[in-house]
Amino acid sequence: MSGEGGGSRKGEGEGKGVTMRVEVDVPKCVASGQCVMIAPDVFDQNEEDGIVVLLDEQPAPELHADVRESAVVCPAAAIRVVEK
C-alpha cells in the first residue's frame, strides 16, 4: 500500500495505471459477508457455509476503492491487496 492516489472516497477514478491483485486466506475467513456487501463484483459467499469466494482476482480500477475497503473491514483479516 503505497498511498498513491490520495483520497479514496468511492467512485473516483483514482488508481489508473495501477494493477491490483487480491488474495484471500480462506482458512481465516469467518463468513461475515462484509466484503460481499462492500464489493459484490469481487467477492461472493459459498452457499453452504458462507466462506468467501473470490470472483475477480484482478479487479478493474473503478473497483479498487471498494476492494481496499473490504480488505480493511474484513473481521478476520483474510483479504490482502497487492498493488503495483
Partner: protein, 391 residues
C-alpha cells in the same frame, strides 16, 4: 494514535490511504506489532495456529505506512491544551489530531494473582493458558459470556475437564435472548461441559474457585472471563468526559481534534438513536476508519452510524449477528429450527428491526435481514407477515 491494535491501525492506514502525508505515531503498550484478537480464544488457544498467524499486517506493509511505532510503552497522561501525550518512558508526543483507541482490560476477581489464574485478552495470555491445558486438566471458567464460552469449547476440544460458572440463570441472555442462550447452554452440555448457572463466585482460591456460599469448585486452572473495563485511567483529569469508556458524540469525537475508536469509545450511534460501546472486532476497524476520515476532513465530517457485527464459534456452532441486540424487546425465530441449531432469529427494539442472529443459514438470507436492520425497517412490515400468529 494511542492504542496499537485494530482501531489504531485502521485509523493510521486510512489516514495514509486518503492522502495524509504528515507524521504519524502509533503508541501501544504491548510489545507486538498490531495483531488480531478474535483468534486468541479460538485457533491460538486451540493450538491450530501459532502466533505467526495473528499479526494484522506484514512488517513490509507496516513499513510502507511510514509510522513512528512506539510499542511496549503505555500512555500515562494527556494534556489537551498543550496537545501532548505523555508516555510511561517519560517521552511526550505532540499531536495535531489524536485518536484514542486504548481498548479494554479484563475485569478481575479477588485472589486471581496466582499461577493458576488466567485472563484472556492478549497473545501472551492465550499462550500461557494454552500451555496449561490438555487431556485431564481441570479448567474452571468464570463467566459464560462469549469469551468464556468460546474458551470452554476450545478447552473441551483439547481434552480438558471444564466447569463453566455463570451468575445469570441463562448464559448470554442479555446479549442474544433467553431462548438462544439456552440453545448455547445445550451445546455446552452436549459436549460435556459442567455448566453451572446462577452461581456467585467469590474468589480464585487455593485449589480452584470459591463460591460465595463457601463451596470450592476444584480446578487446576481458572480462567476469569467476567467482562472488561475500558482503559481510560490515563485520561483521568485530562478534561475529557469519562463514564463507561471515553464519551464521544455521533462523530466519535471526544473533544475538538480528539476522537475515540474501538472498545474504549462510547459514542452516540444515530442509526439506533442510542449511545453504545461495542467490544467487537469489526467495530474497532470501522470506527478507526471513520475517525480518520473525520480528522482529515473536518468540514465534511460524517456521523459514525454502523450496523454492528460479531461472530462467535462454539464447537460446530458459528453465530453471526448484525445489529444492536442489547436491550431488545422481542426475539423471533423466522427461519430454520433452534433445536437443530440451524436458524435465523430477528430482534425487535421498539417498533423496528434491531438485529439478526443466524447459525448455519445461507448467507443471502442473513444479508437480506442485515439490510432490514441497516434501513431500520418497521418490525410489522418485515416480520409481521412471516409470523401471523405472533409465534
Amino acid at each position: 494514535m494511542v492504542g496499537g491494535s485494530a482501531a489504531g491501525l485502521a485509523a493510521a492506514e486510512t489516514l495514509r490511504r486518503e492522502g495524509y502525508e504528515g507524521a504519524l505515531t502509533l503508541i501501544g503498550d504491548e510489545p507486538y506489532h498490531p495483531y488480531d484478537r478474535p483468534p486468541l480464544s479460538k485457533q491460538i488457544l486451540g493450538g491450530q495456529w501459532e502466533p505467526d498467524r495473528v499479526p494484522l499486517r506484514t512488517p513490509a506493509d507496516l513499513d510502507a505506512l511510514g509510522l513512528e511505532l512506539r510499542l511496549g510503552v503505555a500512555a500515562t497522561g494527556l494534556d489537551l491544551a498543550g496537545r501532548t501525550v505523555a508516555l510511561a518512558d517519560g517521552v511526550r508526543v505532540p499531536y495535531d489530531g489524536l485518536v484514542i483507541a486504548t481498548g479494554v482490560r479484563p475485569r478481575r476477581l479477588p485472589g486471581d494473582g496466582g499461577e493458576r489464574a488466567h485472563v484472556l485478552r492478549t497473545l501472551d495470555d492465550a499462550l500461557a493458558l494454552r500451555d496449561r491445558l490438555g487431556p485431564g486438566r481441570r479448567l474452571a471458567v468464570v463467566g459464560a459470556g462469549f469469551l468464556g464460552a468460546e474458551a470452554a469449547a476450545v478447552a473441551r476440544g483439547l481434552g480438558a475437564e471444564v466447569t463453566l460458572l455463570e451468575p445469570a440463570p441463562v448464559p448470554l441472555a442479555p446479549a442474544v435472548g433467553e431462548r438462544i442462550g439456552r440453545m448455547l447452554a445445550g451445546a455446552h452440555h452436549d459436549h460435556g461441559v459442567d455448566l453451572r448457572t446462577g452461581v456467585a463466585v467469590a474468589e480464585v482460591a487455593d485449589g480452584g474457585v470459591r463460591l460465595t456460599d463457601g463451596t470450592l469448585v476444584e480446578a487446576d486452572e481458572v480462567l476469569v472471563a467476567i467482562g472488561s473495563v475500558p482503559n481510560t485511567g490515563w485520561l483521568e483529569g485530562s478534561g475529557l468526559t469519562l463514564g463507561d469508556g471515553l464519551e464521544c458524540d455521533e462523530y466519535s469525537a471526544a473533544a475538538p481534534g480528539v476522537y475515540g475508536a474501538g472498545d474504549v469509545a462510547r459514542w452516540h450511534n444515530p442509526l439506533f438513536g442510542t449511545a453504545m460501546r461495542i467490544e467487537h472486532r469489526t467495530n474497532a476497524t470501522e470506527q478507526g476508519m471513520a475517525v480518520a476520515r473525520n480528522l482529515l476532513r473536518p468540514d465534511e465530517r460524517r456521523p459514525f452510524a454502523p450496523v454492528p457485527y460479531f461472530w462467535s464459534d462454539q464447537y460446530d456452532v458459528r453465530i453471526q449477528a448484525h445489529g444492536y441486540l442489547r436491550g431488545h424487546d422481542e426475539v423471533a425465530v423466522v427461519e430454520g429450527d433452534l433445536e437443530a441449531r440451524k436458524f435465523l432469529a430477528v430482534y425487535r427494539s421498539g417498533d423496528r428491526v434491531a438485529g439478526v442472529l443466524a447459525v448455519g443459514m445461507p448467507p443471502k438470507a442473513v444479508r437480506t435481514w442485515r439490510q432490514a436492520v441497516a434501513t431500520r425497517a418497521a418490525w410489522r412490515d418485515a416480520v409481521g407477515e412471516l409470523l401471523p400468529e405472533g409465534a
